[in-house]
């Protein structure tokens, strides 16, 4: 291999610098707004930095703590409901004989392939008639129905990847189907199931469109709070709540970085 001379480094360096600016510039802008007290054009950076807006955001009147708690609570409920339905379905799709397996898998692909807007809009309408609009239950149902799709696919893959002979061995030793599932299958599938739980949790935490239609006016999750603050022109509060929303996602990304091997995803779409 030739020794790399510095002119050869210049090209990639410039391009990488541009890419870094494109990706981190907007994020840096968010940081600046989150810690700004006063910032008027044409100043490049805020005139004053401060934490007073953080105080405002977390004060009881600010509502951010309530929204954060509500968002997390809804996300936890969503994970429970999604997994409760997805685990049996994933197990059946991976292990058991189903005559219409292909069709069923297609049915689970449908929600991802269809624009969500008509779905959300009309669910909101039906919920309004049923009195579920503006309730936590309504929002959880909407979030869970979307999380379900992802959860079933991941659970099915997780169960399918377990060696059948391990289950056969436990059955040969006299375990009932439920005991076999509880002591052999479930623990082996746990990493995949935990991954799907995290995906569902994050998707529920960040969900905006469905909550916009179904949650109004009583259920104000963190994304809705952020949206209202931004449209009201209060960029500091909007940026602070945006940062709050980012923390779980970025933390997850840094942790799962090692698992997101590119060639694993080569199988998507086949």
């Amino acid at each position: 291999m030739n020794s790399v001379r510095w002119p050869n480094l210049l090209g990639p360096a410039i391009v990488l610098g541009l890419v870094a600016f494109v990706i981190f510039g907007p994020l840096a802008n968010l940081f600046l707004w989150a810690f700004a007290e006063k910032w008027y054009f044409p100043n490049k950076i805020p005139q004053e930095f401060g934490f007073s807006f953080w105080g405002r955001v977390f004060s009881p009147r600010g509502g951010a703590l309530t929204s954060l708690g509500l968002s997390i609570w809804i996300a936890i409920l969503t994970v429970i409901v999604s997994l409760a339905v997805a685990i049996p379905a994933g197990y059946a799709l991976a292990r058991l004989k189903l005559r219409w397996r292909g069709l069923i898998l297609l049915a689970f692909l449908l929600p991802q392939a269809v624009p969500n807007l008509p779905v959300y809009v009309n669910i909101a309408r039906v919920f309004y008639e049923l009195g579920l609009n503006g309730t936590i239950l309504g929002v959880v149902l909407v979030h869970a129905s979307h999380g379900l799709v992802l959860a079933v696919w991941i659970a099915s893959a997780a169960f399918a990847s377990i060696d059948v002979s391990l289950e056969e061995a436990s059955r040969n030793m006299g375990a009932s189907p439920w005991t076999c599932f509880r002591t052999v299958t479930l623990p082996l599938a746990a990493p995949g199931l935990i991954a799907s739980a995290i995906f569902v949790f994050l998707e529920s935490l960040d969900e905006f469109t469905g909550t916009y239609f179904v949650g109004v006016p009583d259920v104000t999750t963190l994304p809705l709070l952020m949206f209202n603050a931004s449209m009201g022109g209060n960029y500091q509060i909007a940026s602070i709540t945006a940062l709050l929303l980012l923390i779980p996602s970025i933390a997850f990304m840094l942790v799962v970085e090692r698992f997101l091997k590119a060639d694993v995803l080569a199988g998507v779409g086949r």
Binding site: L27, L96, P118, R171, F227, G269
Partner: protein, 293 residues
């Protein structure tokens, strides 16, 4: 695949009661998930069609579609245009990045790029809307950097908070996803093809276009069509960046419902976006079929 607890009966025995209960149990396990899909996807879509086509008297009518077309014709074309443009740009960006990740010769640069490009993947659309709202504004960082580096005059600074901002936000958020799929597909290609071409003296760009790209066409199509359909349905980004006309029809649907409670026209608009999405799916089927032939 044989169920462990219920092996297939020997030939000539017919279906035993055991196998029958096994099959019912399998369907019972899948049933709750299917019921959720039926209730929360199929039913609302059917309701959407019903509300869009029914007038006050209960008869079948096209008047809501006519009204929607009348009021929102510009926005509809605008939506298709924006999402198409964004999809094309996403394709170009992801091919470039994935191509460099596969064919790049500077290992440090490749590693840095691989770490860099994934960040927007984990940032939800709603936060992307807020980020771009500040970044692309007249007093946003983009303009500051352009002015500071002398590329534009302070007076020439413009706010990108119009259709361009929406395209930028979409590309910023979705390109990493398609890049991830593409890079994975490219990584699983046989390196002999690439090496053979390089040994014959082909430049890397040629190798990308003539050898790598045709083989990953399927994955690229999947990623682009998924992005196309996703972007059609996003409400947060257009609402935060450019809610005034011309805007995407998602904003019009939201306005129609929250301000006027006009579900009929709103659903007509939704069905129109469904047709556009179906167009994308049809395009995918046409091209993936061509690939199989």
């Amino acid at each position: 695949m044989t169920d462990v607890a219920h092996p297939l009966p020997a030939r000539g025995e017919g279906v035993s009661a055991d196998a029958r209960t096994g099959r019912w149990r399998a369907y019972a396990l899948v049933a709750p998930a299917l019921i959720v899909i039926a209730l929360f996807f199929v039913l609302p879509l059917i309701l959407s069609a019903v509300l869009a086509f029914r007038n006050k008297g209960g008869d079948f009518t096209f008047e809501h579609f006519a009204k929607a077309w009348d009021l929102y014709r510009t926005d509809l074309l605008f939506t298709i245009g924006i999402v198409l443009l964004a999809t094309i740009l996403i394709g170009l960006v992801s091919i470039a990045i994935a191509g460099y990740l596969t064919l790049g010769e500077n290992p440090r640069a490749v590693a840095i790029l691989r770490w860099l490009y994934r960040w927007p993947l984990f940032i939800p659309f709603i936060v992307t809307g807020q980020i771009m709202r500040t970044f692309l504004a007249k007093n946003g960082m983009l303009n500051h950097v352009l002015i500071g580096s002398g590329l534009i005059e302070p007076l020439a600074a413009q706010s990108l908070l119009d259709w361009r901002g929406i395209v930028v936000a979409f590309v910023w958020k979705q390109a990493p996803f398609v890049t991830l799929l593409l890079a994975g597909a490219m990584a699983s290609l046989e390196s002999q093809h690439i090496e053979a071409a390089r040994n014959l003296g082909a430049r890397r760009f040629r190798v990308l276009i003539d050898i790598v790209l045709p083989q990953v066409r399927g994955t690229l199509l999947v990623g682009l069509v998924l992005s196309f359909v996703t972007m059609l349905s996003v409400l947060s980004v257009p609402m935060m960046i450019n809610p005034n006309s011309p805007t995407m029809i998602t904003v019009d649907v939201a306005y129609r419902i929250s301000t006027l409670s006009d579900y009929a026209v709103a659903n007509a608009l939704c069905l129109m976006s469904l047709i556009v999405a179906a167009g994308g799916a049809w395009f995918y089927l046409q091209h993936s079929k061509a690939q199989l032939q």
